[in-house]
């Protein structure tokens, strides 16, 4: 069972391309049966511009806006992460690339501004 009340984050996600915003709820998964570390609760979303979510390997949240703007894949994941389950080598490659990048704590992630509300 997913414990929602303790680990829910309500996020205001603004697309920096079309300037539309939406509120989404991301829940930290505590169900060992599920592999995802974070799960999005679409039933609690407000606004209809955010149409997809992914917890990326750089530990940031990726979103897709209805306008086509997308941060679903981190720069380091592009060309490596596909629709298939990534192999160990794939994940190693992404980690290698991430280690070469400068880490930031900005709330602006690849075309989206993410604020906790």
């Amino acid at each position: 069972m997913i414990k929602t009340h303790m680990d829910r984050k309500d996020l205001k996600v603004t697309c920096n391309k079309c300037k539309q915003s939406g509120i989404v709820s991301v829940i930290k998964n505590q169900d060992p049966m599920l592999k995802q570390k974070y799960i999005i609760d679409w039933s609690n979303s407000k606004g209809n511009n955010i149409i997809s979510f992914r917890h990326r390997l750089d530990d940031k949240f990726g979103f897709e806006c209805i306008c086509g703007n997308s941060s679903i894949l981190a720069r380091a994941e592009k060309g490596v992460i596909t629709e298939n389950k990534p192999s160990r080598e794939d994940i190693s490659e992404v980690i290698t690339r991430l280690n070469k990048e400068v880490r930031t704590t900005s709330n602006k992630v690849d075309g989206f501004t993410i604020e906790e509300v």
Binding site: Q36, I40, N48, I51, S52, R54, N84
Partner: protein, 175 residues
């Protein structure tokens, strides 16, 4: 509705709005709006999508003077329900006469009734190319087309000349 590209990557959690892009794409294929211009190639068309019927003769027929059906130059077609396309029937023949200046007439008949005719005056013992075309927007149904030839004037005997390299044919196409 138009087609929109759709893809997901491993670990992505799409919303209903994103899944519904697939439904919209489905609908666009159903009503045709999602099919790109010039995307449909001839190999996608069924054999009878355009050619509904064909019949030919590769041997001479005659002599005759009265109205005579050309053997093999006939076809039965099935027009699909809801048809709005135009049917084009092409008849190619090569009549000749034993007498100069005979007039020859050829008919396209639909279910036994004449729907089109063409005439020509032939030279002595020569053969002429006589083509007859018929066009209509037919209702759904099954129809039989045939070619009939006769002498319309003169005193000679008529032959319809045909061979493997010069066939007489009747071709029915939806265009």
């Amino acid at each position: 509705m138009a087609y929109a590209a759709f893809s997901v990557v491993y670990g992505e959690q799409p919303s209903a709005a994103k899944w519904n892009i697939l439904g919209t794409n489905d609908a666009s294929f159903n009503d045709g709006t999602g099919i790109a211009a010039l995307a449909i190639q001839n190999t996608h068309l069924d054999t009878d999508a355009i050619t509904l019927g064909y019949g030919e003769a590769t041997a001479n027929q005659g002599t005759f003077t009265a109205a005579t059906d050309l053997t093999g130059v006939t076809c039965t077609i099935i027009v699909p329900s809801g048809n709005t396309r135009r049917l084009l029937v092409t008849l190619n023949t090569n009549p000749g006469s034993s007498s100069a200046a005979d007039r020859i007439i050829v008919y396209i008949k639909k279910d036994g009734s004449t729907v089109q005719e063409a005439r020509i005056t032939v030279g002595a013992t020569s053969q002429e190319n006589l083509i007859c075309l018929f066009s209509e927007v037919p209702a759904a149904g099954t129809y039989t087309f045939k070619a009939t030839m006769q002498r319309a004037g003169g005193t000679g005997n008529i032959t319809n000349y045909a061979s493997a390299t010069n066939p007489s044919f009747l071709l029915a196409t939806l265009i």
